[in-house]
């Protein structure tokens, strides 16, 4: 059940650091479960390679950037998910 083919652990780590910084600057926090977040980061990286943009790893592409604008991370549903589940889906 692996993903993000071709990505080294160093690259995954680098992307994690970038997302961490962006989240903190925006007033959000990444989940303290680092392994889980790294798993999501690998999913985002896989989608960036696959589609050319960081489609939410848990959402289905509608067939192109235009159709997917609402589900590119951070997606339009993040705040509603945080309110309802304390995490995004």
């Amino acid at each position: 059940m692996s993903d993000a083919p071709g990505m080294t652990s160093g690259e995954v780590e680098k992307l994690y650091e970038r997302l961490f910084t962006e989240a903190e600057e925006g007033g959000y926090h990444l989940n303290p479960d680092r392994e889980m977040v790294l798993d999501l980061v690998r999913g985002l990286a896989a989608n960036e390679e696959r589609y050319g943009y960081m489609l939410c790893p848990c959402r289905l592409s509608g067939g192109g950037r235009e159709a997917d604008l609402d589900i590119i991370c951070p997606c339009d549903y993040r705040d509603a998910d945080l309110d309802e589940y304390d995490t995004c889906y």
Binding site: M1, M36, D39, L40, L44, C58, R59, S61, Y85
Partner: protein, 94 residues
């Protein structure tokens, strides 16, 4: 017609069908939880399907979960669990 992968397990009291995305960490957590608890289930990675197979499955998911979020799991054909909800799985399945 999209094929679901069947995963064997000793706990077979419920019919479980999991709609998942191959890149989704929550979907992986759901699968791991079911497998760690030896629960039989079947799953499909919707993003890896093509053409009509994917369209048919997406239509199924849309009826179960109009937000089309994953994982979406169906228990015994009628009860729908959305997201990775460990406690709910424990309560309903284990």
């Amino acid at each position: 017609m999209a094929e679901f992968e069947k995963v064997e397990g000793s706990k077979k009291d419920h019919e479980l069908r999991l709609y998942a995305i191959s890149t989704c960490g929550w979907c992986r957590k759901t699968r791991s939880f079911l497998e760690d608890n030896d629960v039989a289930y079947e799953y499909v990675y919707v993003d890896l399907l093509n053409g009509q197979d994917q369209a048919d499955i997406v239509e199924e998911v849309s009826k179960l979960n109009p937000d089309r979020t994953f994982p979406t799991m169906v228990i015994d054909g009628d009860e729908v669990l959305i997201g990775f909800k460990e406690d709910a799985i424990k309560e309903k399945i284990l």
